[in-house]
């Protein structure tokens, strides 16, 4: 299977709210990078939650890396999530421990050996330009730096799929550009990336496919300029 993410007629309904996603079908090919756009409340976060198994779809089928997520039992969820790197809008760092321990966490969870952890954490920090900040406490870093720590943590275990939910939402434009550049570089070395964002101005000039959600439905409403640049591996 060449798709890392495959949604087939997926709907999701929150009790008392109604359909947040309705009849969504799309694929993300292995090695592809795409943006997920839409106004807040359009269902971007819900879509990502379905992929990371934070929510189960009400209807339809979700396949992640060839696995139907309906078949993942709740005690298999940790192992399932380990395949995915996730970057959050609010960084979700652990502020009681230094940068090194934060980035090392996914490796510790997997039971990676001590020596390998040191080597790979430094490599990940190097990739996000934070080498030398291992011993610093995250709270003393700027927002952009904290987000880069979050990205280092997401990629340190070499996941095949990287999800990001509004990764630039709390950052100023310059930092946001750097962060997007990081995603682009990881994609170049083979990681599939799906970034949910409403920062349309930021991604306009980037040559990636845009998946646009409007009130829970996939919309084809894209600027001609963007349609041109759409790259579809699927």
């Amino acid at each position: 299977m060449a798709d890392i993410i495959h949604f087939h007629r997926v709907s999701h309904r929150y009790e008392g709210v109604g359909d947040v996603l309705s009849d969504v079908t799309f694929t993300l090919a292995k090695g592809e990078m795409a943006f997920l756009t839409g106004t807040s409340g359009a269902g971007k976060s819900t879509l990502l939650k379905l992929i990371a198994l934070l929510e189960r779809p009400t209807r339809g089928q979700v396949m992640v890396n060839g696995q139907n997520i309906a078949s993942v039992k709740s005690r298999q969820i940790p192992a399932f999530r380990q395949q995915i790197g996730v970057v959050f809008q609010n960084f979700n760092l652990l502020y009681d421990r230094p940068v090194f321990a934060n980035v090392a966490l996914p490796l510790v969870i997997r039971g990676i050996g001590h020596d390998d952890i040191g080597r790979r954490v430094r490599a990940a920090l190097d990739a996000v330009g934070l080498l030398g900040k291992e011993k610093v406490m995250p709270i003393t870093l700027s927002g952009g730096e904290q987000q880069r720590v979050g990205i280092a943590r997401a990629i340190v275990a070499k996941p095949q799929l990287l999800l990001a939910d509004e990764p630039t939402g709390n950052l100023d434009p310059n930092m946001a550009k750097e962060v997007m550049e990081l995603f682009r570089r990881f994609n170049e070395v083979g990681v599939s990336v799906l970034v949910a964002t409403h920062a349309v101005s930021l991604i306009k000039k980037l040559p990636y496919r845009v998946i646009h959600l409007d009130k829970g439905q996939l919309s084809t409403r894209q600027s001609p300029e963007m349609m041109e640049k759409t790259v579809d591996f699927g």
Partner: protein, 317 residues
């Protein structure tokens, strides 16, 4: 450097993974314990007092037991002679008894001596004068050799009771048997108290860990988001519970030690009044080990119980 390669080849074998993971948790939880030292010690102190109570009661019972067993060897047996036995026969019997193994001394108390003693001690002197004949038997008091065990003495007393000159043989041990009965009752009581207080330790640790979990709610959510198993998330809390129990046990040991130290002088003074050189003993080694083990196990159980209950509720939204 980023590639979608599997991590399998980097994972060390199970044993070394296990050892490394636990070593990391030991260091991590101990450093957290140290950072929150005053709060953690407060909890440990409560656990310490809870463990010290049954431990000190146990120490007390053990000491009383030891003293009573030392009295056991100072027991005397009384042979009440038949009225038909003449003083001469009694003297002959004494000579024979003194050669028996296990008998240290034998003293003859004639009927007249018994009467005089009874008159002097009982306060019924005048009433006894009214009696025509002396109702008291002659007695031979046997002192067993020091250090002879109870069963041997019991057998000796039975054997002496069957002698033709002897009506009844009795060991003066009733009061001691009563004391032992009371002591075994107290010992059972100590066990019950220990059981109830053990539950208290579980609740204390459980409650402390519950607050700990509440404080780390966000952290647990993050852990779950990046794929940590429940076992992984549970582990630091279990270690924390274990440290509480262990340090609580150490504090309990210190408390018992201090109590024994404080009581040792008055206790030796009391012993001296009874012409004994008995020294108060501290918590014996086996009980000390049991107390530490109880602290560790109860702390761990308390943590397990709480974490299992609360971990399921905390899910990323």
């Amino acid at each position: 450097m980023i590639s979608a390669k599997a991590n399998a080849e980097l994972r060390p074998n199970f044993l070394s993974r296990f050892a490394q993971g636990h070593a990391r948790e030991v260091v991590f939880t101990l450093s957290r314990f140290y950072r929150n030292l005053s709060g953690a010690l407060l909890t440990c102190f409560v656990i310490g007092i809870t463990l010290a109570l049954p431990a000190s009661l146990h120490t007390m019972v053990r000491n009383i037991n030891a003293v009573s067993y030392s009295w056991e060897t100072t027991l005397q047996a009384s042979l009440f002679l038949k009225d038909s036995t003449t003083p001469a026969q009694a003297q002959a019997l004494i000579a024979k008894l003194k050669t028996r193994p296990g008998v240290a001394d034998a003293i003859y108390i004639s009927r007249d001596q018994s009467l005089a003693e009874f008159k002097a001690l009982s306060g019924f002197g005048a009433a006894l004068d009214l009696l025509e004949s002396n109702p008291l038997p002659a007695v031979i008091t046997i002192t067993p050799v020091k250090g002879v065990q109870r069963p041997v003495i019991d057998a000796l007393v039975v054997e002496l009771g069957e002698l033709p000159e002897v009506e009844v043989a009795k060991l003066d041990r009733q009061w001691l048997d009563r004391l032992f009965a009371v002591l075994s009752l107290i010992q059972r009581l100590v066990l019950l108290i220990a059981g109830v207080l053990g539950l208290a330790v579980i609740v204390i640790v459980g409650n402390t860990i519950r607050l700990d979990i509440e404080a780390k709610r966000a952290e647990i959510v993050v852990m779950k988001l990046i794929g940590a198993t429940n076992g992984f998330i549970r582990r630091p809390f279990l270690y924390t519970g274990l440290w509480y129990g262990l340090v609580g046990g150490a504090i309990a040991y210190g408390l018992v030690f201090a109590a024994v130290f404080a009581l040792s002088q008055p206790a030796s003074d009391l012993a001296a009044l009874y012409a004994s050189d008995y020294r108060l003993k501290g918590l014996p080694l086996d009980a000390t080990l049991v107390m530490f083990a109880a602290g560790i196990v109860l702390g761990w159980i308390g943590a397990w119980w709480t974490v299992s209950r609360h971990l399921r509720e905390i899910e990323p939204q």
